[in-house]
Symmetry: C2
Subunit: 170 residues, 2 copies
């Protein structure tokens, strides 16, 4: 089924993986997979009264120690008001530390505290466990394909940010 003639030829070729049915499967796979992707951290966060937004902030602060608020805003793609609400609770709860910049004193540099690192580990372990299992069962070739497709799916601006992040892996 869904293996019919396809009829989605381009330049005369028959590209079975580009039929409407295949695209729909890909779209639905993204929907269902993203749910699984976030489900484990979501459970942990809920126990502590945090949400997905807190996770994202924690993740990227961990990823880029000492990043500025502005940089984080650009990565997350939300408004400063949204981010600030989240950041304020994380700072109050002493998971994140905000240090005034030395070169430019207008900037605030963000760091995870020891307490913040503990939660980051916990969230990261849960999410990585699932991704690791998925990667392992799928195999290296599939993982490469997975990454290639995802990268091609990003907006150019996002792809730039993504690649910049993965380049200078600390």
């Amino acid at each position: 089924m869904a293996q019919g003639p396809g009829g989605n030829g381009q330049h005369g070729e028959t590209l079975l993986f580009l039929t409407d049915e295949q695209l729909r499967k890909g779209i639905e796979a993204m929907f269902f997979a993203y749910k699984g992707f976030t489900s484990d951290p979501d459970r942990i966060l809920e126990e502590r009264g945090y949400g997905r937004a807190h996770h994202r902030a924690i993740h990227f602060i961990h990823r880029s120690h000492g990043t500025t608020v502005n940089n984080l805003l650009a990565i997350l793609g939300v408004t400063k008001q949204s981010l600030n609400r989240v950041l304020r609770t994380l700072i109050e709860d002493e998971l994140v530390e905000s240090r005034v910049g030395t070169r430019d004193k207008r900037e605030r540099h963000l760091f995870l505290t020891d307490k913040g690192l503990v939660l980051e580990r916990e969230l990261s372990d849960a999410q990585q466990a699932r991704v690791r299992d998925a990667f392992r069962s799928a195999g290296p070739g599939a993982v490469a394909g997975f990454r290639t497709v995802l990268e091609a799916m990003m907006d150019p601006e996002m792809r730039r940010r993504y690649q910049r992040l993965t380049e200078n892996s600390r």
Copy 2:
């Protein structure tokens, strides 16, 4: 970089694609790609005063003509109150029709109206265009890997639903 000894061996093997760094890349790729994945439909929906929840309902009603409310609830994984709010506006706006079941009169079967089909096409075209471009540039092998990894990332229950959906493609 990140091509070091890896040190994440399992059973003595060196599984480079399972290093923490590789997992982190995969996780961040999901984050950025999902944003791109939803961005085009989101723009269209906003123009019409709808949200992502409306899109999901429209998508799965189109996908499974005549599905019941209960079935839709199971697929979407939200509460009936959440779904009902969305469904009500779609029915009021005459994008969706709700017909009392013939066999079981308690059930409501959901259908897209002509007007609903128009919006579905528009949303679907926008989303498929991006996915198609990504698939095309990545190639069939990458697409297969993409799907394999996503499927492995789903919760078992979601995977069951996903597979059931793709089986009986109408």
